[in-house]
């Protein structure tokens, strides 16, 4: 197995090898599956690849690069894939827990309440702050017991997607 590929949190060891001749074809094998698959490039355009795999036809469109991999559309569905280099370290974005964790907002929102102070020790499930977006409140809770190291926002503040809210210490 030559590569390790991660899609949607699952990693699989796979091999891909070019077959001789035309049309452009590859043989794909994965440790998780018994049978090899033949991948044929049916058509190659700048904005899409048309592939055939066991008589299923796929329109693959590029979308954007992502950490350690790429995102692309397969028949209109988004697939995020990352490559784990042979023997190398795990790619970024694989969700490895750290001791210090930065909590960011996943959406633009208004901070309606802050329920903890800097330095506070909080229990698992305790609400740290409350955001409002699209007319609904969302509670940001502590995933495990931790200490609030820093608060980056104030009550009433509007935050963008990706804005830092607080830093927690799980140590």
């Amino acid at each position: 197995m030559d590569y390790e590929i991660t899609i949607g949190g699952r990693s699989e060891k796979v091999t891909l090898s070019r077959s001789a001749g035309e049309p452009e074809q590859y043989e794909f094998q994965g440790a998780a599956w018994d049978q090899p698959l033949r991948v044929t490039v049916v058509r190659r355009e700048p904005s899409q690849l048309v592939l055939s795999i066991a008589e299923r036809i796929y329109s693959v469109r590029p979308f954007r690069r992502s950490p350690g991999g790429a995102e692309f559309l397969v028949n209109g569905e988004l697939v995020s894939a990352a490559l784990v280099a042979k023997g190398g370290p795990k790619a970024a974005g694989a969700g490895v827990a750290s001791v210090n964790e930065l909590v960011v907002s996943h959406f633009p929102a208004k901070v309606v309440r802050i329920l903890v102070a800097n330095g506070a020790r909080v229990k698992a499930g305790e609400t740290l702050l409350i955001l409002e977006s699209m007319k609904m409140e969302t509670h940001v809770d502590a995933p495990r017991e931790c200490t609030v190291l820093e608060l980056f926002v104030a009550e009433g503040e509007m935050v963008n997607r990706g804005a830092k809210l607080t830093r927690l210490d799980f140590g």
């Binding site: 590569y3 891909l16 090898s17 991948v39 590029p62 692309f72 490559l83």
Partner: protein, 507 residues
């Protein structure tokens, strides 16, 4: 009797487009309003005229009644259609329209004031012998009062805003410990959504079904017809996710009974135009309890339209301009079953937290019996300022089973990239055995294990996808514009595939 030459649409998104289409088929001119976030929205572009409301917040724009009336007058409108949400149930706005000689397409200000007061409506229902769920008859002063009543009737209870709807301000409380935080949160959400913080307590039924009756009333309730019921039991955060008509548990006799209740209540509040009376059905006894009046067009009105072949929005406009109903009860001949799925920009696997982004790819489903109500287009920015509804997917079939299979087929055809949506959830709901058998309740999401299956499906290890990923990643076929020049001078160039080039070695 008023002829309408021009109507202002006091709303945005899919419902503004829905009203626009109804106006066009009635050959009435349309005037749109738009916030700065909606300058290139579909209703803005497609209306005959469109007026800017500076700002992005609802308060500055779609809730700014005084400015909306000013625009309606300036553009010589005859009437205002409020859609749902925003000012649709605001009696002050309806009054302001009336004072400015504009027809408000909806109930009278007086009927809106009564309908909007949930406690008053419950009392009216009780007085007419219509069952209601136990509740505190007056708004609560503080959390202690709430706790006292909750202990009297027994936990779990619901804290609810006395005014307004859409699930906002509702909190479920299962023990005394949680009631203080829930009380405050409920008041805050109610204040933010409706400008009125009054809250009351209601007994929470166990696994009830949410069933509502669509009515249409002439001016002053002289004539009231019903268009059957909708079942909206599948909910999250007390907001509807899946709606269908008719309900699998409502037989002809039950329909007659709850429709009679609905018509009685409509007459009690001198209701006019389209409205909905909501009921809960107790799963143990089969008893129906009146819940509240929704004094507006509902989000889920299309299921009723598909089953009855009646355009509810056009009917609203007809009632508003002629005072009379465009059809009689005997003309209402329902046929088949319709199911609506709300496609929201929410992540079902993260407690339905809303998310925003740009619609990068969109393909809407189609086919016999399939209807999509949406203002989406590729390139649209989904903003955080308004609600999370992106599209309504509605499928009709001669039977529940045929409607369900069409809905499932359409959900698989529906492609949307750019924000996380409820589409994968709906796909699983449609194949969940209890749904297939029509066994629904407001606890459906937690009881059926459907979220777990959505999560498993997302993790599914499809070899084809891995093979495709291997080809794209290993051969570095994926190329982004090498020097993305930002700013107004250039359009973003889409990424592309290239032949050759090596991402890693070995091939």
């Amino acid at each position: 009797m008023h002829e309408f030459q021009r109507v202002l649409i006091a709303n945005r998104g899919e419902i503004a487009l829905r009203v626009l289409r109804a106006l066009r088929t009635l050959e009435i001119e349309s005037v749109a309003i738009y916030s700065d976030a909606d300058a290139s929205a579909r209703p803005t572009i497609e209306a005959d005229r469109a007026f800017r409301m500076p700002g992005v917040s609802p308060a500055e724009t779609y809730l700014n009644g005084a400015q909306i009336v000013e625009i309606a007058r300036r553009s010589d409108c005859d009437a205002v259609h409020p859609g749902y949400g925003f000012l649709s149930e605001n009696s002050e706005f309806a009054r302001l329209c009336r004072e400015n000689s504009l027809t408000f397409i909806g109930p009278s200000p007086e009927a809106l004031a009564t309908s909007g007061n949930k406690l008053a409506c419950k009392k009216l229902a009780e007085a007419r012998g219509i069952p209601v769920v136990p509740y505190t008859p007056d708004p609560l002063e503080d959390a202690n009062e709430a706790a006292r009543f909750a202990e009297e009737i027994g936990f779990p209870v619901l804290l609810k805003s006395a005014f307004g709807g859409g699930g906002r301000g509702i909190k479920e409380v299962s023990s005394r410990d949680d009631i203080r935080e829930a009380f405050e949160s409920s008041r805050r959400e109610a204040e933010s959504a409706f400008g009125r913080s009054a809250v009351f307590v209601e007994k929470k039924l166990v696994r009830p079904r949410h069933i509502e009756v669509q009515i249409l009333a002439s001016q002053g309730s002289a004539e009231v017809v019903h268009l059957g019921e909708r079942e909206c039991s599948i909910q999250r955060r007390f907001q509807k996710l899946v709606e269908l008509s008719p309900s699998p548990v409502v037989d002809a006799e039950t329909r007659e009974r709850i429709a009679r209740h609905a018509i009685t209540l409509a007459k009690a509040v001198e209701y006019s135009n389209a409205g909905t009376m909501e009921f809960l059905r107790d799963s143990d006894t089969g008893e129906f309890y009146f819940l509240e009046v929704n004094a507006r067009l509902q989000v889920e009105h299309p299921v009723t339209e598909l089953v009855n072949g009646i355009d509810l929005v056009a009917s609203q406009i007809e009632v508003a301009r002629h005072g009379k109903l465009p059809f009689r009860q005997k003309d209402v001949r329902p046929s088949g079953v319709a199911i609506e799925c709300r496609i929201n920009s929410e992540d079902p696997l993260s407690d339905f937290v809303p998310n925003t982004g740009r619609i990068e790819y969109l393909r809407l489903p189609a086919g016999p019996g399939v209807r999509v109500d949406t203002a989406l287009y590729e390139g649209l920015e989904v903003t955080p300022y308004y609600d999370s509804l992106l599209a309504k997917l509605i499928a009709w079939g001669p039977s529940f089973e045929e409607a369900r299979r069409r809905q499932l087929t359409a959900l698989h055809e529906f492609k949307l990239v750019g924000v996380t949506t409820t589409i994968p959830l709906h796909r699983e709901v449609m194949v969940t055995p209890s749904f297939v058998h029509g066994e629904l309740s407001t606890s459906f999401l937690s009881d059926s294990g459907v979220l777990k299956r959505v999560s498993e499906e997302a993790q599914r290890s499809d070899p084809d996808r891995f093979a495709i990923a291997a080809l794209i990643l290993s051969k570095n076929q994926f190329r982004e514009p090498t020097s993305p020049r930002l700013g107004v001078a250039t359009a973003p160039r889409p990424p592309s595939f290239e032949r050759g080039g090596r991402f890693i070695d070995g091939l």
